[in-house]
Amino acid sequence: MAADLVTYTLRLADTALVLGHRLSQWSSYGPTIEEDIAMSNLALDLIGQARLLYDYAGTVEGKGQDEDALAYLRDEHAYLNLLIAEQPNGDFAVTMVRQFLYAAFMQPYMEALMRSKDATLAAIAAKAEKELAYHVRHAGEWLVRLGDGTAESQARAQAGLDDLAIFVGEFFETDAVEKAMIAAGIAPDPTSIRPRFEALLDHVLGEATLRRPVFSTHHLGGKTGRHTEHLGPMLAEMQVLHRAHPGAVW
């Protein structure tokens, strides 16, 4: 049970950290200074959520691993993030589509997690839910403007949506670990989130005049450490400093 809780918490933490790191890669490359700062804010929200979750996972695990050990000293196959989080930034439209798909699922998911029987996860969810509500709004507003914008911006947004759709099915897949957490009243059942996710998506895609793609479940495995080819190089860059200088501080 404790092992399942550690695994479940690490999945949430890894997803938040990996997506946060991806967003942070935009720093100084944003299309405008305003959006550059906005994306850094989103990144910091996610990295903040990851820190709380790592801290809790390390505590439950009880082997003395702190947040740095969990973030910087685990290899690709020990990472349990959703595959969508590790996908490359692509162009700005791809990044906003990725952010919207994630936040549109995760915001209602965190809202449900606030009712968890695990008090720590419930408290972390309460903080994350507010942050993710803003991510939904920010990425959603961009999706509307990109989709209902120029022919170029619409094509790019639609391409991003079509490319990332294959990773959405994973949101709703559960394995034995997650089913045990759901049965224990610790985790929400992601399939219960699906109607809200799809309603929000349809609303925004409608305004954006974008076509809703088919969400397949062909690409699974992130939650069990089987990743796309993009995570390894990202982790190498993210972890190199800590591995070269363990315990380095500002």
Binding site: T32, I33, E34, E35, I37, A38, N41, Y134, R137, H138, E141, R145
Partner: protein, 95 residues
């Protein structure tokens, strides 16, 4: 090009309830809704505010700097307009 698609906005932040919105700076955004979001992200990162106003800079009527003397010089000699001859009670708080 950037000026056309993303006009300049002026940002006003209210630090806390009861205070006036004060000019915080400016930014470029596509429209009012995005300007509010950008203002939130650029100017309230350190808990600066509880409310934001944004307004397109080109909608603001502004005085001409070359009129400075005509506009403002005449007040310099009228110190009796300053309320410095009164003692403000502590209880008044923010004025």
């Amino acid at each position: 090009m950037a000026e056309v698609t993303t006009p300049l906005y002026e940002v006003f932040i209210r630090a806390k309830a009861g205070l006036a919105h004060k000019h915080a700076g400016s930014l470029h955004a596509h429209d009012d809704a995005m300007a509010l979001q950008m203002a939130r992200d650029v100017y309230t990162r350190r808990g600066e505010g509880v409310s934001i106003w944004v307004v397109r800079s080109d909608l603001i009527a502004a005085s001409d700097p070359t009129d400075k003397d005509m506009m403002f010089e005449p007040t310099a000699s009228k110190i009796y307009r300053h309320p410095t001859f009164y003692e403000v009670p502590e209880e008044v708080g923010n004025m």
